[in-house]
């Protein structure tokens, strides 16, 4: 019997690739963003540390997109994922 979790793609921008063995994309199965992060914590610990701090919070200056939508406009960590969704972690445009 197959997994009930939707299969989603994580698109990795260049600064994050060294922490995932050079990969530009990862495929994981998760039904929410929170579950996706938990999967990364277990399977891609170095990558996870770049995305979340020690408390498990998303890093403050990262924006997370599901397809073209920022998760702050969706359901935050509880945002539900569907098969084929693409997650992207992008540095917020800030600083100088």
């Amino acid at each position: 019997m197959g997994s009930a979790e939707p299969r989603v793609t994580i698109h990795l921008t260049a600064p994050l690739r060294p922490y995932a063995g050079g990969a530009s994309r990862l495929e994981i199965e998760a039904s929410t963003l929170k579950a996706a992060l938990q999967t990364l914590e277990r399977s891609q610990a170095a990558l996870y540390r770049n995305i979340c701090d020690e408390t498990g919070a998303l890093r403050r200056h990262l924006n997370v997109y599901v397809n073209a939508d920022n998760i702050r406009d969706l359901g935050g960590l509880e945002t539900t994922l569907a098969a084929g969704d693409v997650l992207t972690f992008l540095p917020a445009v800030s600083g100088g």
Binding site: P15, L16, R49, N50, I51, D53, E54, T55, G56, A57, R59, R60, H61, L62, P91, A92, S94, G95
Partner: protein, 370 residues
């Protein structure tokens, strides 16, 4: 044979390394290294083959430790950076201090929020030092303008002195197992009690290895005109201890202002100490004319060292780790500014020359002869 002077420069846009022969002429600059994010701490580890460490304080992807084994030609991340235990509730916000430990490959690291970490494998793994990180005062410390940072680690065998802003001076006499606030004589200008047990805004602590009982402190001064509760607090900014940091007394008389960030001790003479006074309000050079001030009698009297520096219209800041001194017989003083200049004062600071004039804002300058 040690025949090169290596200066590490932590900036807002990465780390630079400058290298010159022992004549300190013809410095060559390498960098910037790292991903273009602030570097608040560097360390030239002179045990064995020299290594350069740098904190890489990435606001997007978190804190890293960088290491170079080729004197700054290339840097690689260590396998991990300090991190709080998952159930601690705190998250690393910055890395402020890197120092060598006693054992080969042992490193100590001070961070924000103020806590101490220790590595025994050259920075590849880290453990939190609970004696200070979980000290009963730790959740009562408050951030200074730079954040709540443990910025100074001064070690002398089993004695460990820590500078915390704003926590004050903490002393361990059991190798870092336990710490106690040790601030007798260290004033605070921003609290009703001028001499609290802890909570002072210590900016930097320095000592000479041959005189471990003598410590110098640049504290947050500039409170001579304070009119709030407790009244004025003149000369609390520059202090000295002669009892291993158990008590402190002012040595600020004679300086143009008792506010500043760095304090540095001559490598051969424990009586010779350097500060760089700043206007307390603007934190810039008094009168637009920067100068290093030197005492050759342990803070009894001070003399101005400004030869070669701008005489007017210079309003930079030199941060707490922005000044250092090399270990050569006739040492040179180096300081980096928030406007990106690196100055060298050869002959103990008698005359300053501009080494580099357009770097990013400088947080940190360290030097070693390798």
């Amino acid at each position: 044979m040690a025949d090169r002077v290596v200066v590490t420069i932590g900036t807002r846009k990465g780390v630079f390394v400058a290298e010159a022969p022992k004549t300190r002429r013809g410095f060559k600059l390498r960098g910037p290294s790292g991903p273009g994010v602030p570097v608040y701490s560097t360390l030239v580890d002179t045990r064995g083959k020299p290594r350069i460490y740098a904190s890489s304080c990435n606001p997007f992807f978190g804190m890293k430790i960088l290491c170079s084994t080729d004197l700054g030609k290339s840097f690689k991340e260590t396998k991990s950076a300090p991190a709080f235990p998952k159930d601690d509730g705190r998250a690393l916000a910055n890395i402020w201090s890197l120092e060598m430990g006693d054992a080969k490959n042992e490193l100590w690291c001070g961070v924000e929020p103020a806590s101490l970490f220790r590595s025994r494998d050259g920075g590849d793994s880290w453990e939190m030092v609970p004696g200070i990180s979980n000290h009963e005062h730790a959740r009562k410390w408050e951030p200074g303008a730079g954040g709540l940072c443990l910025h100074t680690i001064v070690r002398d065998g089993n004695r460990v002195h820590l500078g915390i802003s704003t926590g004050g001076h903490y002393l361990s006499e059991d190798g870092g197992q336990t710490f106690r606030a040790s601030n007798k004589g260290v004033g605070a200008g921003f609290a009703p009690d001028p001499y609290p047990e802890f909570g002072q805004c210590v900016h930097k602590i320095a000592r000479h290895p041959a005189a471990p009982g003598r410590l110098y402190m640049q504290n947050h001064g500039g409170w001579a005109d304070w009119t709030g509760p407790g009244g004025p607090r003149p000369n609390i900014g520059v202090l000295r201890s002669d009892d291993y940091g158990r008590s402190w007394r002012s040595i600020a008389a004679g300086l143009p202002t008792d506010f500043g960030f760095p304090i540095v001790v001559h490598p051969k003479d424990p009586d010779t100490v350097y500060v760089l006074p700043l206007e307390p309000g603007t934190r810039t050079c008094p009168g637009g004319a920067p100068a290093v001030w030197r005492s050759e009698n342990g803070g009894g009297t001070w003399s101005r060292l400004g030869r070669g520096l701008p005489k007017k219209e210079a309003y930079f800041t030199v941060l707490r780790d922005g000044m250092t001194i090399d270990g050569l017989t006739n040492p040179a003083v180096y300081f980096g500014t928030t406007t990106g200049q690196l100055w060298v004062g050869r002959d103990g600071g008698e005359k300053f020359d501009l080494l580099f004039d357009s770097l990013p804002p400088i947080h940190n300058v360290k030097v070693a002869v390798v």
